[in-house]
């Protein structure tokens, strides 16, 4: 087992995520439909299908693979989540460009930088009950250990925790904000996407 994230490991992970998104599309559309325009599943599926169609041609360069993933979303979606995801991926791509392996211990920093880029792009803050809070939970868990398996276990727990904590708060960003109190008691759909991704990766 390599000491870090290789392009091959990344591709394996992407395949798992793509499978999961096909399975979760209806759930995500429905969650987003209750508080928004109902396209979150569509956004994820479109991006993932573009990735799947190209993945065999991806180069042995972690940064380039991440860039391709970012582009899969900027090409197929103008929805907030797609754009934020692309923003985060782009940030990580820049930091890893030209490298065929990235040590696991660099992951928390990469996630932190991605989070910064996403925060700047979306002008939301931690605590606003968005995907940002879930990303932060993953970053925090990843910084607790150098082992990818432990990172994933920690992320699962961390994301679940932050979702529990925020469930009864009103949404403060995006279309869901328009629905105000209707969002109280409901999970943020963007956080659910991250939860499904972590679940897919931890098998």
């Amino acid at each position: 087992m390599p000491e870090g994230l290789t392009a091959a490991t990344l591709q394996g992970g992407l395949r798992l995520i793509c499978l999961q998104m096909e399975a979760s599309a209806a759930e995500l559309n429905e969650l987003d439909g209750a508080l928004g325009d109902g396209d979150l599943g569509i956004t994820m599926v479109r991006g993932c299908r573009t990735i799947e169609a190209e993945i065999d041609t991806y180069p042995d360069d972690v940064g380039m693979v991440l860039l391709k993933c970012a582009q899969a979303f900027t090409r197929t979606s103008g929805s907030t989540f797609g754009t934020l995801l692309a923003t985060g991926l782009m940030s990580a791509a820049k930091a890893t460009k030209g490298r065929s392996e990235v040590p696991w211990r660099e992951l928390p920093d990469l996630l932190g930088q991605a989070l910064d880029a996403m925060t700047k792009r979306g002008k939301a803050q931690l605590g606003d009950k968005t995907v940002l809070d879930a990303v932060e939970a993953v970053r925090a868990a990843a910084s607790q250990s150098g082992d990818p398996g432990a990172m994933l276990q920690g992320s699962r727990a961390g994301v679940a925790q932050v979702m529990d904590r925020m469930r009864n708060l009103p949404a403060r960003q995006g279309r869901a904000r328009i629905f105000g109190d209707k969002s109280v008691g409901r999970d943020d759909p963007g956080m659910v996407v991250l939860q499904r991704i972590v679940e897919a990766l931890s098998g």
């Binding site: 325009d37 396209d39 979606s77 103008g78 929805s79 792009r121 002008k123 328009i178």
Partner: protein, 332 residues
């Protein structure tokens, strides 16, 4: 809301097909995504390009205003959804004629994010951009938070004024400055009587009682400032003028243009009834009205309701407003 359409998911692409087929002298569909439209004519070398974009369902906004003296290109999203950053980048490339490109669009989260990202993309290709957000809806945030306001019918003045400036071969900074001045000079307020239906969603954007209207409601159904019984046209017009001139006080001797805009279903007959009151009211304040616009300039498909925009003019803006422009929906 009953609609004449085919597959809801094909709504936007079929609409763009028809638009370009009907007006090939104005609109050209760009290859890759099919969701970017540029002027049929090649750009004048050195002219600053102006690009806008946003969700569909607002014709003539945004795409309709691609034309001489207005926009150079436009990215078009699904109904009420931002286009992608790639589509915006494609529009920017088409609009670039070496003089840089002004990104001029309404202040909506998704559009802002994607245009930012698109600007970063084309920056790597050495296309210079400047961004001006249109944020004219006084109902959407207080005067202390003007930057948080949504962009509505004021877009039309921003396009017209910046477009005329660009046509005069001004620099990117100068065009952006006019766009900023246009935004600073525009205030809008709307009233909604009925919702509309996003084809893919298949249900109305909001619910409202048979005798009710919502003052200050946004064009996508964003909550307004007050819901209540439908009032007489003159009272609605009076409240609108009051709200707008409180936010942007007018002095005797001031010159303005006003846009009495239908959100879609409200017919021009009603707009003229409102304009009649507004023009008298402004005249009584000693304010003169120049080149009023009455019609469907920024809509939400079949939504009933209207908006009033006041655009305060100085000599420069008045001259730019009266300069020629030409697209399938508006000619000056």
């Amino acid at each position: 809301m009953k609609k004449i359409l085919n597959e809801p998911f094909a709504y936007v692409d079929e609409m763009l097909d028809g638009l370009c087929a009907a007006h090939p002298e104005y609109y050209r569909k760009l290859g890759e995504t099919g969701r970017a439209i540029a002027r049929a004519a090649k750009p004048t070398p050195g002219k600053v390009g102006i690009v806008s974009g946003g969700g569909s369902g607002h014709l003539p906004v945004f795409t309709g205003y691609v034309g001489k003296g207005l926009l150079d290109a436009c990215a078009i999203g699904d109904v009420f959804s931002s286009p992608s950053a790639d589509q915006m980048a494609e529009a920017i490339r088409a609009a670039d004629a070496g003089g840089g490109v002004l990104l001029l669009f309404g202040n909506y989260g998704g559009d802002v994010m994607n245009f930012e990202m698109a600007a970063e993309m084309v920056d790597m290709e050495d296309i210079r951009t400047a961004t001006v957000l249109v944020a004219d809806d006084v109902a959407s945030a207080g005067p202390g938070e003007r930057h948080r306001r949504r962009g509505v019918a004021g877009l039309v003045y921003a396009y017209k004024l910046a477009g005329a400036k660009a046509e005069a071969m001004a620099s990117l900074d100068e065009v952006a400055a006019v766009a900023r001045k246009a935004v600073d000079s525009c205030r809008s307020i709307g009233v909604a009587l009925t919702p509309c239906t996003v084809p893919a969603a298949g249900r109305p954007t909001f619910e409202i009682g048979a005798g009710e209207m919502e003052f200050g409601m946004g064009i996508h159904g964003e909550p307004g400032v007050r819901r209540g019984p439908i009032r007489p046209a003159d009272e609605i017009a009076e409240e609108m003028v009051t709200v707008l001139t409180k936010d942007m006080p007018l002095q005797p001797g001031d010159r303005v243009s006003v846009l009495v805009n239908s959100l879609g279903a409200t017919p021009p007959e009603e707009l003229y009834i409102v304009y009649r009151y507004v023009s008298r009211r402004l005249a009584a304040m000693g304010v003169s009205t120049v080149m009023p616009l009455v019609g469907r300039y920024a809509t939400s498909m079949e939504m009933a309701g209207m908006s009033l925009t006041i655009c305060r003019l100085d000599d420069e803006l008045e001259a730019l407003l009266k300069a020629p422009c030409d697209c399938a929906f508006w000619r000056v």
